[in-house]
C-alpha cells in the first residue's frame, strides 16, 4: 500500500519516457516516407504519425493497450483471436512443465542429498545442463517425443518448460534437505531413528521453506520455457506462437500485445505461487523460519 504512489510515479515517468522514445525512434520512418512521397512534414504531423504507425519501431503505449483491449476484452475467450484463449494454452503448458519440473527437481535433490555418489555425479551435470541452449534441444525433443509416440505438442513443450524449471527446485531442495544441522540430526540418532525416518521426519519438513521459496523462480522459468517452446517448435498456438506470427507477418502490434499479455500472465502466476507459499507457511506453523 505504502508503495502505491511511488509506483504510480515511476510508471508515469516510464510512460512519458516511452512516448518520447516512440517519437524519436519512429520519426525516421515518417521522414523517409515523406521523402519517398516528396513532401514536407511539420513537427505536429511528425508526432501524430509516430503515434499511429502500423509498423512502429516502438509502439506508443496507448497502441499496445488498445491492441490488448481488443484481443482480450473485445473477443470471446473461446475465439482463437482472443489473447485469453492463447494465454490459457501457454498456461496449460506452463503448469504441466512446472509439475514435471517440481517432480524432477525433488527426486534428483533427494538422490543427491541421500547419496554421496549421487551428489558427486549428478550435481555438476545439473549445472552443465543449464548451460545447454534449450532452443538447440527443442527440435530434438519434439522429434524424439514424436518417435516415442508422445506426439501431441503439449508433451514436448512441457518437457522444454520443465528443463528450465527443475533447476531452481533442485538447487533449493538440495539446500533444504541438507539444512538440518548436526544437532538436529544427532537428536534423531539418539532415538535410534533409521535413515528413512530421518528423511521423512526431519529433512523433508525442514526443506519445505526452501521448496516453496523456489517455486516462484521455477514457475517463471517454466513460463519462459513454455513461451520459447511455442516460439520455436510449433508456431501453432499459445502466446509464443503469436509473437512469432506477429513478427513474421509484419504485425508488430500483435507481437507487443502478446509480449505484454505474457508479462501479465507471468505476474499472475508468480502472485498465485506466492500465495500458495504464504498459505503453506501458515500450515507449517506460521511465522517459523
Amino acid at each position: 500500500m505504502r508503495s502505491i504512489i511511488p509506483v504510480l510515479t515511476v510508471v508515469a515517468a516510464l510512460v512519458v519516457i516511452w512516448y518520447a522514445a516512440a517519437v524519436a525512434m519512429n520519426s525516421q520512418w515518417t521522414r523517409d516516407q515523406a521523402a519517398r512521397a516528396g513532401v514536407e512534414v511539420s513537427f505536429g504531423e511528425l508526432v501524430s504519425d509516430t503515434m499511429s504507425q502500423k509498423r512502429p519501431l516502438l509502439p506508443a503505449p496507448h497502441q499496445i493497450v488498445s491492441e490488448m483491449w481488443e484481443t482480450t476484452v473485445q473477443k470471446k475467450i473461446t475465439s482463437k483471436r482472443s489473447m485469453v484463449y492463447q494465454g490459457m494454452i501457454t498456461l496449460k503448458t506452463t503448469m504441466l512443465g512446472f509439475a514435471f519440473g517440481i517432480i524432477g527437481g525433488v527426486v534428483l535433490a533427494t538422490i543427491i542429498v541421500l547419496s554421496r555418489v549421487g551428489r558427486l555425479t549428478l550435481m555438476p551435470w545439473a549445472i552443465i545442463s543449464q548451460t545447454i541452449p534449450i532452443v538447440a534441444l527443442a527440435p530434438i525433443i519434439v522429434v524424439l517425443s514424436n518417435a516415442v509416440g508422445a506426439g501431441t505438442l503439449m508433451v514436448p513443450k512441457a518437457i522444454i518448460a520443465s528443463y528450465l524449471s527443475f533447476y531452481p527446485v533442485l538447487v533449493s531442495m538440495v539446500k533444504g534437505l541438507s539444512s538440518p544441522d548436526q544437532m538436529q540430526l544427532d537428536l534423531l540418532r539418539t532415538y535410534g531413528a533409521s535413515r528413512r525416518e530421518v528423511f521423512w521426519k526431519l529433512r523433508l519438513p525442514s526443506s519445505m521453506p526452501y521448496f516453496f521459496a523456489s517455486l516462484k523462480v521455477a514457475v517463471a522459468a517454466a513460463f519462459v520455457g513454455a513461451v520459447v517452446a511455442e516460439l520455436s517448435t510449433s508456431a501453432i498456438a499459445g502466446l509464443g506462437a503469436r509473437m512469432l506470427i506477429g513478427s513474421q507477418f509484419g504485425e508488430p502490434m500483435i507481437m507487443w500485445a502478446a509480449l505484454f499479455s505474457a508479462a501479465v500472465l507471468a505476474a499472475i502466476l508468480i502472485f498465485l505461487v506466492g500465495s500458495v507459499e504464504k498459505g503453506a507457511r501458515h500450515f507449517m506453523g506460521g511465522r517459523a523460519i
Binding site: V10, M25, L122, P133, I140, A220, L231, P252, M255, L259
Partner: protein
C-alpha cells in the same frame, strides 16, 4: 579431489557410451540423434568454423551483453538504493519487467540494433539486467541492523556505508547473480541469432545445420556451448572464491 572429478566424469563417460551403443543398436538415424563419435568427428573437422561462431556469439554477443547488463544493474541498484522513494516505486515495476519472457524481445532488438552482434548483446543485457538488479539490491539490504548501526555510531555518510559495509556484504549476492547471468547470457545470445544474424554464430549454425540435417554439427555447437557455459561458471566461481574468501560458504 580425485573423487570430485572422477565421479562426474565417469558418469559422463557412461552416458556417452550408452548413447553410442544405443544409437547403433536401435539404428537411430543420425539425422535425429548422431552418435557421440560423429559429434566428436564434427568438432575435430570443423575447428575454424566453431571458433568463428564462438567469437561471434560468445565474445561479441554474450560477453558484451553480460558486462553491459551487469554494469547497468549495478549503477541502477546503487541509485535506487539511495532513494527510498525509487526503491518502493521501481522495484515492483522491475519485478514486472523481470517476469517478461525476455526472449520475446529478440525480434524487437534485431529490429532496433541490426542483425549483427549489437542486437545479441542488447538481448543479453536485458536478460541479465533483472536478475543482477534483484540480487544486488538483495545484497545491499543483506547487512544486519547491528552492522549498519555500527556505521551510524561512527557518523558515517551514505557513501561510506556503501563502500565500506554494504558493498562488500553484497558481493556474495553479486556473484550468485553472475552465476545465473552467465548461463542466461549464452542462451540469450544464441536464441537472438534465430531472429536474424550474419552468417556466423552459434545460433546461426545450430538453426541452419539443423535445416540441412547436419545434426553432428548441431551437437558440436551444443557441446561448445556447454563447455563455454561451464567454463564461465567455473571462472565466476573461481573469482568468487578469491574475492569473497571471507564468506562462510567459501571457507568450507
Amino acid at each position: 579431489m580425485i573423487e570430485r572429478i572422477g565421479w562426474p566424469v565417469g558418469f559422463g563417460i557412461l552416458v556417452l557410451a550408452l548413447w553410442e551403443v544405443g544409437v547403433r543398436a536401435f539404428g537411430v538415424s543420425p539425422a535425429i540423434l548422431p552418435p557421440p563419435s560423429a559429434i566428436w568427428a564434427a568438432i575435430i573437422s570443423s575447428g575454424p568454423t566453431l571458433w568463428g561462431d564462438w567469437v561471434q556469439t560468445v565474445v561479441k554477443g554474450a560477453l558484451n551483453g553480460l558486462w553491459m547488463g551487469t554494469l547497468a544493474a549495478l549503477v541502477l541498484a546503487v541509485i535506487i538504493d539511495r532513494f527510498d522513494f525509487l526503491k518502493r516505486g521501481l522495484l515492483p515495476v522491475a519485478n514486472f519487467f523481470a517476469a517478461l519472457p525476455i526472449v520475446g524481445l529478440a525480434p524487437i532488438m534485431v529490429m532496433w540494433f541490426g542483425f549483427d552482434w549489437h542486437s545479441k548483446a542488447a538481448v543479453v543485457a536485458v536478460m541479465v539486467f533483472f536478475p543482477m538488479l534483484v540480487n544486488i539490491l538483495g545484497g545491499l539490504a543483506a547487512v544486519d541492523t547491528m552492522q549498519r548501526d555500527l556505521m551510524r555510531t561512527y557518523g558515517a555518510s551514505h557513501v561510506q556505508t556503501l563502500t565500506k559495509l554494504r558493498g562488500p556484504a553484497a558481493l556474495p549476492f553479486l556473484f550468485n547473480g553472475l552465476k545465473i547471468a552467465t548461463s542466461l547470457a549464452l542462451i540469450g545470445a544464441i536464441v537472438a541469432e534465430y531472429f536474424g544474424s550474419p552468417i556466423r554464430g552459434m545460433g546461426f549454425r545450430i538453426s541452419t545445420e539443423m535445416g540441412r540435417l547436419a545434426t553432428d554439427m548441431v551437437w558440436a555447437e551444443i557441446v561448445v556451448s556447454a563447455v563455454t557455459g561451464t567454463a564461465l561458471y567455473g571462472i565466476v566461481a573461481g573469482i568468487e572464491r578469491k574475492v569473497t574468501f571471507w564468506h562462510p560458504s567459501q571457507r568450507g
